[in-house]
């Protein structure tokens, strides 16, 4: 129902992902409040490392398709050879084909040339179709691989990372950043490859056609090179900014849409608009700047092209006048230059998407370089097939923020099969204990031990099979009620699902829904009432059937009859497994074998509920208050 989250630990210095992503707040807007921030200015070293990382990622993504890529390069070479051959053949046709006709010697040469043009046109078409198809498919395959990889990595990272990184950013990495790369793969790849080949091919051809004219034309290349370098440098900065800006837009968007009910009820719309305007505007500025860089870059390229053409025209005209070059050569020259400069402008647009994509790739590689704070063991222990569920906390210390110990040193031994209830004032550290047992975090001192094995030695799969937690937030996923219960055990049959729902008393309300178990729960379960959501969440935990079950406020929103039903069910469900039950409703606690009263992270009472009720201590007081509240 509620989200219990942890304050981000002070950002450690070496996390590329979070570091430059760190959110920038306007300090003057104090109502935004203060939080741990890291600055987003990139040091030179970070920039270099980012580049190296994203290059490495790119390499890894492409490596499996090495052969295919070479094949594509071959195809593209053929295509461009054919493409470039056309003007050359036209030149032949004019120079060699027409004089014989004029001289009345027949049109044999011309026909040959025309056939050759036809052939190259067909080859070009064939190669292009092949290339577009293959390259397109390859691009999508790479993209699919990237999506899978980043998605999986996010799921592998630890909760503390997610606390810090925030869901909006995760979403923005997986949607907006991946989409930018998609765009590049769809349009940019083709354009860039063609541009490079055209560049080289044209240079060679120009030189072979006529050295002097060729050299003159080549004079433009250094200028182009310089322009491109400038463009790349500026764009990289801008695109990095734009990636960060769009992430902030998404973060804010997701937050407002997730909390839309509160937004509307408390008339937060104007404030939200203001914030959104801020982040949106920053994104707009980044876009504007990239537009402007393009506005300088593209005409400049065109200018260089135009001037070169004019120079060739003048000089070539002069040469032709003196008979040093033929009109055909001059024509071919002009054609090549045109062919070179014309697409180059549009290609610079593609280059643009390429740079934008590399900024996105940097972000993604930053994420992929994050390692879980709760790492998988290098040498995992082999736990027994059937877990017994003997849980020990040995001198466990924990703090979210340095200096503020939430658990100053906790010793707790829960024998297999025991049901332990945790009670205590809000903020005492109950959820924290649960999270340590579920290994959301590792303790800062001491050990959490399951069946004699330190949790740090268990693989994630082994651990999750044994320990399941029903969190205070009972998040439901898009899908049907059955889907959501099945989440506890993906291969469960429908009978098992119905059985689980029956046991915890959710069956009645589910069958009354319009489509019964197949009713869609809608966005985050909004189709259901708070209590119904809790029941579904309970059913899915029950279905998971772990050795250790942690219930954190799992019944807080239920009415008393439903809660009683669950209590009765719990007696059987928990009979043969270890359980930690956190509840403010003492009725739930009474089913426990043992109760621990927690205050400021310390155990102040420990014993069976029957005994504690009578000894006049804290629990007795709580219990009395509870009884009174029911009267």
């Amino acid at each position: 129902m509620t989200t219990t989250q942890q304050t981000p630990p002070p950002p450690s210095d070496d996390e590329p992902g979070s570091r430059h992503d760190a959110q920038v707040i306007d300090r003057e807007e104090s109502w935004r409040g203060y939080a741990e921030e890291s600055d987003d200015e990139l040091s030179r070293a970070t920039t270099l490392r980012l580049k190296a990382q994203s290059r490495k990622l790119l390499g890894e993504l492409l490596r499996p398709y090495k052969k295919m890529i070479w094949l594509l390069v071959a195809i593209v070479v053929v295509e461009n050879a054919a493409r470039l051959a056309v003007p050359y053949l036209v030149h032949l046709g004019i120079d060699k084909g027409i004089p014989p006709i004029l001289a009345g010697e027949g049109n044999q040469t011309l026909i040959t040339v025309v056939v050759a043009v036809l052939a190259s046109a067909l080859i070009q078409a064939f190669a292009r179709q092949l290339f577009l198809m293959r390259a397109g498919r390859l691009g999508q395959t790479i993209l699919l691989g990237l999506r899978r990889r980043v998605f999986d990595h996010f799921q592998r990272l630890s909760p503390s990372f997610h606390d810090r990184y925030t869901s909006g950013r995760v979403i923005s990495r997986l949607t907006s950043d991946v989409d930018v790369i998609d765009e590049m793969l769809e349009t940019g790849f083709d354009g860039l490859v063609t541009a490079l080949l055209t560049l080289v091919g044209t240079a060679v051809l120009l030189l072979t056609l006529d050295v002097k004219l060729g050299l003159l034309a080549l004079l433009s290349f250094p200028v182009l090179f310089f322009l491109t370098a400038w463009f790349r440098r500026r764009s990289q900065l801008v695109y990095r900014r734009s990636r960060e800006a769009v992430a902030l837009v998404i973060v804010h968007f997701v937050e407002s849409m997730t909390g839309i009910r509160a937004v509307q009820a408390f008339r937060r719309e104007p404030r939200n608009e203001q914030i959104f305007h801020g982040v949106n505007d920053r994104y707009r500025e980044a876009n504007l700047e990239s537009f402007r860089i393009n506005a300088i870059f593209m005409p400049s390229i065109k200018g260089v092209g135009n001037i070169t053409i004019v120079a060739i025209l003048a000089y070539g005209g002069w040469q032709a006048y003196h008979g040093h070059v033929t009109v055909g050569v001059l024509t071919a020259f002009l054609l090549y230059l045109r062919q070179f400069f014309e697409p180059l402008q549009d290609i610079s647009q593609f280059y643009n998407t390429f740079l934008s994509a590399s900024a996105a790739l940097e972000k993604l590689s930053g994420v992929l370089n994050e390692t879980p704070d709760v790492p998988e063991p290098k040498e995992p222990a082999k736990p027994a097939q059937h877990a017994r569920g003997h849980l020990e906390l040995r001198n466990v210390k924990f703090n979210y923020v340095d200096g503020v110990a939430v658990l100053p040193g906790l010793d707790l031994d829960v024998p297999a099969g025991q049901t332990l209830a945790l009670v205590g004032t809000t903020g005492a550290g109950k959820t924290t204990i649960a999270k340590l047992v579920a290994r959301f975090y590792d303790p800062t001192g001491g050990q959490v031990v399951l069946d004699g094995i330190d949790l740090r030695k268990l693989t994630e799969d082994d651990l999750r099979e044994r320990v399941v937690m029903v969190t205070q937030e009972n998040f439901l996923f898009t899908g049907t009620v059955a889907d959501n219960i099945r989440f506890g055990k993906p291969d469960a049959t429908m009978d098992e699902i119905v059985e689980a729902a029956k046991v915890i008393g959710a069956h009645e309300f589910i069958v009354r829904l319009p489509d019964g178990y197949e009713t869609a729960v809608e966005k985050r379960g909004s189709r259901l009432s708070a209590g119904q959501r809790q029941l579904v969440a309970f059913a899915r935990a029950f279905l998971a059937d772990p050795a250790v079950l942690i219930l954190d406020e799992a019944t807080s929103s239920l009415d008393i009859p439903s809660e009683r039903l669950i209590q009765r069910a719990l007696r059987t469900i928990l009979a043969d497994r270890t359980a930690i039950v956190i509840a403010h409703r003492l009725s739930t606690v009474e089913t426990a074998d043992r109760v621990i009263v927690l205050e400021h992270g310390r155990i102040i009472e420990d014993g069976s509920p029957d005994v504690l009720i009578t000894d006049g201590g804290h629990y007795a007081g709580l219990h009395q208050a509870w009884e009174d509240s029911l009267a």
Binding site: R137, S167, Q264, F266, F291, A295, K302, V327, L630
Partner: protein, 554 residues
């Protein structure tokens, strides 16, 4: 913008003509003195072309990025104003993808595609006319070649429109999966369901992959086609042109100019493919966006203002259903809450308590009957005025990513520090003063996280601080321990004595805060009375609220 574009096209077209002049004049007719002026003319033209392009782009950059930002802002504003019913129905990823992907598609098209589309078409037309004038028989050949291009383009367009819509929708679906995997991360972790979620994601991603590949296939065929036609035309032109030169019906210079001009068509035709594709995508995006912008909000603000509300709340024959085809969730609700009285709402899980309370601030609108505050139908009231008169603390406390102070003063931005402290005390939330930056600490997802009970108390403080005429507390004490709960209840008693209150409760202690209790059963209110009365006379009520012992053994 377009005028500079058109000028630019004009200039770029005149360059080949100058080329012809040079080849025909100085070179062929050996008139050397013309070379220098012509070269300068070409240079001047070229440079002015560049300047025109630059000017156009510069002007365009602002227009286009402003357009995108404005659209995004409008979309956001619209979404915020659309009712809960809309938000429940729409997948969040679909909304998100509209705000991001679709808008950038439009930006790209406006910034790049649209202009080139116009320029290219213009260039095609002008060049064709020039070609016709240069030597009409060859010009006609070019003209004929345009026919298949147009026909295929039209066909392509239709198909591409459909497929890009499919891709975009699937992207939205995938975004939904992604969003859930991020928001539900802790649940996924707690169950160790990484593989399961990954598989679901994978299904979506593979589906998207399939459609994308299909799209690529379609596009690649079309693009190739666009490349073949000009080349084939070139072959014919070359053949016929050379023969014409042979017959001396045209000069060599004319043929060269003709072919130069014609080759200048190849790129525009070829890029037409990409641009048309882009245009289709932009069109689908625009469609998807207007789906939201055109949604009529079913909850519109009314004309009347509520001045100094007293908080006389009446439900008159209210009924409600979530959608026209479903059954009533609530029906025949009649309640009359005099100013200052408090009503406890008791009912089983899923009986409609939250729904009932949500009708008052018009998060949903009644589907029958009416609700009045101080005699005004809530639908006639200005939304802002209504929602400041009604404050709710929901069963799930939402904190926004901003300072604690801002979070609790949401309902009353002009609250003084003393007010804030008082509200914190009532809600037993003074812990907030001890946070690292005190009340300036940012909480919420992008800030410091708090325990469940702490969040709930802040949400309560927020509702209390608003000093509303009608205060709704929806099971707001569920995450508190018994002692804290007792303290909060004690403090709330004072607050509730001054306002009209609806308190949703599962426990007797909370019910006792109220003057009256209403029992919600089967979608309607079956009994109203004091706690003691109902406990004594209504078995269903006893069952819901009685101390547990008797039931467990019953």
């Amino acid at each position: 913008m377009f005028s500079t574009a058109i000028l630019g096209v004009g200039v770029s077209l005149s360059v080949p003509l100058v080329t012809r002049a040079i080849i025909d004049g100085p070179v062929t007719r050996r008139e050397l003195d013309l070379l220098v002026p012509l070269a300068f003319l070409a240079l001047g033209l070229s440079i002015s072309e560049v300047l025109l392009v630059w000017m156009r782009r510069w002007a365009q950059s602002r227009a286009v990025s402003d357009l995108e930002a404005t659209l995004r802002h409008d979309l956001y504003v619209r979404l915020q104003s659309l009712p809960m019913e809309f938000h429940n129905r729409w997948q969040s990823g679909q909304l998100l993808s509209r705000v991001t992907v679709d808008l950038s598609t439009i930006r790209r098209f406006m910034g790049f595609g649209l202009l080139f589309l116009v320029i290219n078409i213009l260039q095609l037309v002008v060049v064709t006319i020039l070609l016709l004038r240069l030597y009409w028989p060859l010009g006609v050949v070019v003209l004929i070649a345009a026919v298949p291009i147009i026909v295929v383009s039209l066909k392509f367009e239709k198909k591409y429109l459909a497929i890009s819509r499919r891709v975009q929708d699937q992207q939205g679906d995938l975004a939904t999966r992604i969003e859930e995997s991020a928001l539900g991360f802790r649940v996924i972790k707690a169950f160790g369901r990484r593989e399961h979620v990954k598989k679901q994601f994978d299904d979506g991603a593979v589906k998207l992959y399939g459609t994308s590949v299909e799209k690529v296939r379609l596009a690649s065929r079309f693009w190739t086609f666009l490349e073949v036609i000009p080349n084939l035309t070139l072959v014919i032109v070359l053949l016929l042109g050379a023969l014409a030169v042979g017959r001396e019906s045209i000069t060599l210079g004319t043929l060269v100019a003709f072919i130069t001009l014609m080759l200048s068509l190849i790129w525009p035709v070829e890029s037409l493919g990409t641009i048309l594709a882009m245009a289709q995508e932009a069109m689908t995006s625009a469609d998807r966006i207007s789906e939201i912008l055109d949604t009529k909000s079913s909850i519109e603000s009314g004309p009347e203002q509520l001045v100094n509300p007293r908080g006389h709340l009446r439900f008159e024959n209210v009924s409600f259903r979530f959608s026209p085809e479903s059954a009533d969730v609530l029906h025949d609700i009649n309640l009359d809450l005099a100013p200052g009285t408090t009503l406890a709402l008791v009912g089983a899980t899923g009986s409609g308590k939250t729904t009932l309370t949500a009708l008052v601030p018009r998060l949903y609108d009644v589907t029958g009957g009416r609700i009045t505050i101080d005699g005004h139908d809530v639908r006639d009231l200005d939304l802002k005025s209504l929602r400041s008169a009604v404050a709710s603390a929901f069963d799930d406390p939402t904190l926004f990513s901003m300072s604690v102070r801002e979070n609790i003063t949401l309902g009353r931005p002009d609250a003084t520090d003393a007010d804030v402290q008082q509200a914190l005390e009532i809600a037993q939330a003074t812990f907030a003063n001890d946070l690292p930056w005190g009340l300036d600490t940012r909480v919420g997802e992008q800030g410091m996280s708090l325990s469940g009970g702490q969040r709930q108390r802040l949400a309560l403080a927020r509702a209390v601080l608003a000093k509303p005429a009608v205060l709704v507390l929806d099971d707001t004490l569920s995450a508190l321990d018994v002692h804290t709960e007792a303290l909060v209840e004690e403090a709330l008693r004072n607050v509730l004595s001054a306002t009209t209150g609806i308190v949703v409760a599962h426990r007797a202690s909370t019910v006792m805060l109220a003057d009256q209790v209403a029992l919600l059963e089967g979608g309607t209110i079956t009994h109203v009375g004091t706690h003691a009365e109902l406990l004594a006379t209504v078995p269903a009520y006893r069952q819901l609220l009685a101390a547990e012992e008797e039931e467990v053994h019953a």
